[in-house]
Assembly symmetry: C2
Homo-oligomer: 343 residues x 2
């Protein structure tokens, strides 16, 4: 967990690690976007290596794609001293990490996140996995990468939509851990945010929380703020091609709903709820969620990994910067919150 | 690793653990054999639970069966506080353990090995995994079970062939770690072996080695004696239905071949080689391996997980009880050893 290196460009953080190369073989996992926009900046820094290219998209984060990756490593006769570098967003990092962690019972991997979302969230904390049927990250393991190399230059390669998606996790980190930074970011447009400040800030919060509770027995659960409802919303819309939502867009919805429930329980005052809503709507707009959609979304929450014994567990806010976890939600509360969001 | 409990019957070792039940749900994984012969002895001891039944056989130790197990856990809404009890041989333990270790990034599992092979080998040491295409245990993780419950009574349910297969690992443990016990067992027929003594003896050797080197960076490799050649022989014959070999039968072949190579390198004297051959042939007979078979077997060794940088690594004996690991084998040596075995 101390092996997170952040810099504007990739070269100064990658070179010290890769020049001390003790690996028998190296592979770089990319999708069509990172192959085109990021790999050229990385290629020259690497010793002889294999490129493994998969198609982008959450809908490909599954066992079938894992089989393809495992087969590529097998065909190239990767042994246990091999290294896989995951160059891409959350899908590449989660799935590539899972494949590395399970190939021959585990080879080293390096996370080289290229999206804002992956830089401030997915690449730190050792959660790896793939989707299984309707369920996000249902199959996976906890394992730390050999290193996380975060080059903020890669953010320039991203479409605005991707930046917006990643920003949701930054908002989350502020809401659960830093009221001062929250006051700062909520007064700026998305275009005015300072990534050179916010990326390390988010990484520090996440590292601190994960270090205290690596396998999510307790404190780490606070990182799931917005995710109980948000994940279910994301899973639901994944099946509805006409209105697909990016992860952060779904989490933004989840944060409003869970803030509303926090307010209804008298944990969060009205003004704070208002600020959260106002800022999130200004960036993400409002997704259309009908009451029919809501009916289909709720059962998906039952499979959330944070649940225990058939209840739906979530994180609520007792004021900005002060989260509480293991909060049971009732179905009525969830319905009301989604209704509140939509109206 | 201290959680290995051995007793003649299942009840006294299982009850203390299962009565302190802190699990939200329990599932028992069985195959058609353990469902019939072992599950009835276990059922009454368990609180309410789910039975997950799969078909037996190494050829089903694959991703497809994992998907079935994951789906069963999902359908029953198992959460992270669920428990999976793997009641069966090596396939059930390795695959059930892998499914538990990856379901929602890991739930607890208990190994309840019912075969001699699983009791003295597979259930101890935290190696979990499944086969992938032609490659044995190619996808997996290292993870310790919550407990290992070894009831030697289950051995009475086994056909002689299964006892013979498991005995190969006991022979291996003696050859790599206890010359005195080797002298004792090699002078007895299979029917005269004392399982109540040999099972805890083998478990102790394995536990000691694994405790020193859980992820097989060094010492643990000695447990692979007989397996470099044996695994490849097993993989090869898995595809040849007319002459399928059990794991231990293949390892027995591997131990003769690797002992022969040890002798050719002047590590092992002729008499020791002769004793090994004599005893193994007396129990396992001699499998027919043609030179054509040998040609097909050798490439399979290239994918062995113990290899590094394209070489074939094995464990040799510098005398009984004194193994050396990281010994590179040449293709010529391997060919000669298989030829020696067959002639």
């Amino acid at each position: 967990m101390n092996k997170v290196y952040i810099n504007q460009s990739f070269e100064p953080i990658a070179s010290p690690i890769l020049s001390a190369n003790t690996y028998s073989q190296i592979a770089v996992l990319v999708d069509e976007h990172t192959k085109k926009y990021c790999y050229p900046k990385v290629k020259a820094l690497l010793p002889r290596h294999t490129l493994i290219a998969i198609k982008s998209g959450e809908e490909r984060k599954n066992l079938e794609t894992c089989s393809y990756i495992w087969q590529q490593l097998t065909d190239k006769q990767f042994d246990r001293k091999g290294l896989l570098i995951n160059l891409g967003g959350g899908v590449i990092g989660d799935m590539g990490g899972f494949c590395a962690a399970t190939y021959k019972r585990g080879i080293d991997f390096i996370q080289a996140p290229t999206t804002l979302l992956a830089q401030v969230d997915a690449s730190v904390g050792g959660k790896l996995g793939i989707d299984f049927n309707d369920f996000k990250n249902h199959i996976g393991v906890f394992k730390e990468p050999a290193a996380v190399l975060i080059a903020t230059d890669f953010l320039h390669t991203l479409p605005a939509k991707e930046i917006r998606s990643g920003f949701a996790e930054i908002i989350k980190h502020c809401l659960i851990a830093d009221a001062t930074m929250w006051e700062k970011i909520r007064k700026r447009d998305l275009e005015k945010q300072n990534w050179a400040e916010l990326v390390p800030h988010s990484v520090e919060i996440k590292k601190r929380v994960v270090a205290e509770d690596p396998t999510e027995k307790g404190l780490r659960k606070i990182l799931n703020f917005g995710h109980t409802i948000g994940h279910a919303v994301e899973s639901y819309f994944l099946k509805q091609p006409r209105k697909k939502l990016l992860h952060g867009e779904a989490i933004a919805i989840g944060m409003i709903c869970e803030s509303y429930i926090s307010h209804k329980r008298d944990f969060l005052d009205e003004q704070a709820l208002y600020h959260i809503e106002e800022f999130i709507f200004s960036i993400y707009g409002k997704a259309k969620i009908t009451s029919q959609d809501a009916e289909a979304i709720i059962p998906l929450m039952m499979q959330d990994k944070k649940n225990e014994k058939g209840t739906i567990q979530s994180v609520l806010l007792q004021g900005i910067g002060n989260p509480v976890y293991d909060q049971k939600l009732s179905l009525a509360e969830i319905k009301e919150a989604i209704h509140y969001y939509s109206n």
